[in-house]
């Protein structure tokens, strides 16, 4: 008898102790984040023929530099960039952080890349490999960089990184 009373008291207590953990939304996000994390900082060597003065390649590099994505891009893409209307291709959006020749609304989070060839290449301060690596994975040069990571994330191909690099170091 005594036992029954105790048990029913216990049951009662657990029924009435409030527990709202089951009625609220508390979705799990850890897998989404885990799958979205970065591979570690990677060193890349420029492939043969990476840096070019080819007009079309530089035009593609410029296009990627100045635009956010294919849905937002104002002008038609240059020869060699073919995007189906249904696809969204991400571009570099480098002007968000960098000013450069003909930039529209260029930002100033990163250094101004105007006259980059004269200031940084011809003066010998930078070489092709440095600029290529910086764009591919800037963490190698600067662990705490605020710049985007463009090759390790597979946002772009090696060829595209070459074209963007060729544009940055070109005479404009």
């Amino acid at each position: 008898m005594k036992k029954t009373v105790m048990i029913s008291l216990l049951v009662g207590a657990s029924l009435f102790a409030a527990d709202y953990s089951g009625v609220i939304e508390k979705p799990n996000a850890s897998k989404i984040i885990k799958d979205d994390l970065l591979a570690k900082a990677t060193v890349y060597a420029m492939p043969e023929g990476c840096i070019t003065t080819d007009k079309d390649a530089i035009a593609r590099g410029a296009y990627i530099f100045h635009n956010l994505n294919s849905k937002q891009a104002g002008q038609k893409p240059p020869k060699g960039i073919d995007i189906k209307d249904s696809d969204t291709k991400q571009y570099g959006n480098c002007v968000a952080c960098h000013n450069i020749e003909k930039a529209q609304g260029g930002g100033n989070i990163g250094p101004d890349l105007t006259r980059y060839k004269a200031m940084f290449m011809d003066s010998g301060v930078r070489d092709h490999q440095f600029v290529f690596q910086k764009i591919a994975d800037p963490r190698i040069d600067n662990q705490n960089t605020h710049m985007t990571i463009n090759l390790t994330t597979k946002l772009f191909t090696t060829k595209e990184i070459c074209e963007i690099t060729s544009y940055v170091i070109s005479t404009k």
Partner: protein, 257 residues
């Protein structure tokens, strides 16, 4: 409705207004529209709706106070301390999750966290604390400490196809720099203190949005995988940015670009 909802002049706005050059994203026409909205925040109607919803589903301010075990007088200051660890939830919760539980207790199906009804009701509930200073205590217990740490990690972790973190654009080093025509805001109590000024009317979206919804906006723009509202990481981010905004006076609804 308890107290009049203050029309709040958000710092973001003042700050944006002070940039008059063409380089920036606000045109003169935008600026004029802002000036008008300052007189009359469109979100006041939504917060009014939220007040009615709280009345109907949660027993109003009194019902909320009772549910939280505080007096109605203590309620504003108590709300200014969210997110917090609550034993009955076995976790750190944001205010909207509390409202979900209260709806359920009262026999109603809780509004989804991402529903506009929840945005309205949550905005009203937070506005009860208007004029109070943010007073989160991240040292109160181990649960809130952990939530803070998770939030900090989530803020600093680089991810997504551009390899960015929240910190990439919101570290003290880059505040005030320009990201494609937009000045980068200071998220601390020295700046815009978003934790004290969201929920807010977002002009560019023509709607009332919450702080966690704003986080999703940045994730989306910067190509970080968007995580769901109410997840421990989202609540952690809210804890982290609420701590950053500590001491700032709550002013809901805010008004943002």
């Amino acid at each position: 409705m308890k107290g009049t909802i203050k029309i709040v002049l958000s710092l973001t706005l003042l700050w944006s207004l002070s940039f008059a050059s063409e380089q920036f994203s606000m045109s003169d026409a935008d600026r004029e529209m802002y000036a008008e909205m300052l007189e009359d925040n469109p979100a006041d109607i939504m917060v009014g709706n939220g007040s009615e919803l709280l009345e109907e589903y949660c027993g109003g301010d009194a019902g909320l106070a009772e549910f939280l075990n505080v007096s109605e007088d203590e309620l504003p200051a108590y709300i200014a301390g969210f997110p917090r660890y609550l034993k009955d939830f076995k976790q750190v919760v944001a205010l909207d999750q509390v409202l979900q539980a209260l709806m359920s207790k009262n026999g109603h199906k809780p509004f989804a966290l991402k529903s506009s009804d929840m945005f309205d009701m949550g905005a009203y509930a937070k506005s009860i604390a208007n004029g109070e200073k943010i007073q989160i205590d991240v040292d109160a217990n181990k649960h809130i400490k952990e939530s803070y740490e998770l939030g900090k990690l989530t803020f600093e972790q680089k991810r997504g196809s551009r390899g960015l973190s929240c910190l990439s654009c919101h570290s003290s080093q880059v505040i005030g720099s320009v990201l494609r025509t937009q000045p980068l805001p200071d998220l601390s109590a020295k700046g815009n203190a978003p934790a004290a000024t969201w929920p807010a009317y977002r002009m560019t979206k023509s709607s009332l949005r919450t702080l966690q919804r704003r986080f999703q906006g940045c994730m989306n723009n910067a190509l970080l995988a968007v995580i769901p509202l109410g997840s421990p990481e989202m609540v952690g981010l809210e804890v982290y940015l609420t701590q950053e905004a500590k001491g700032f006076e709550i002013a809901i609804p805010g008004l943002k670009r």
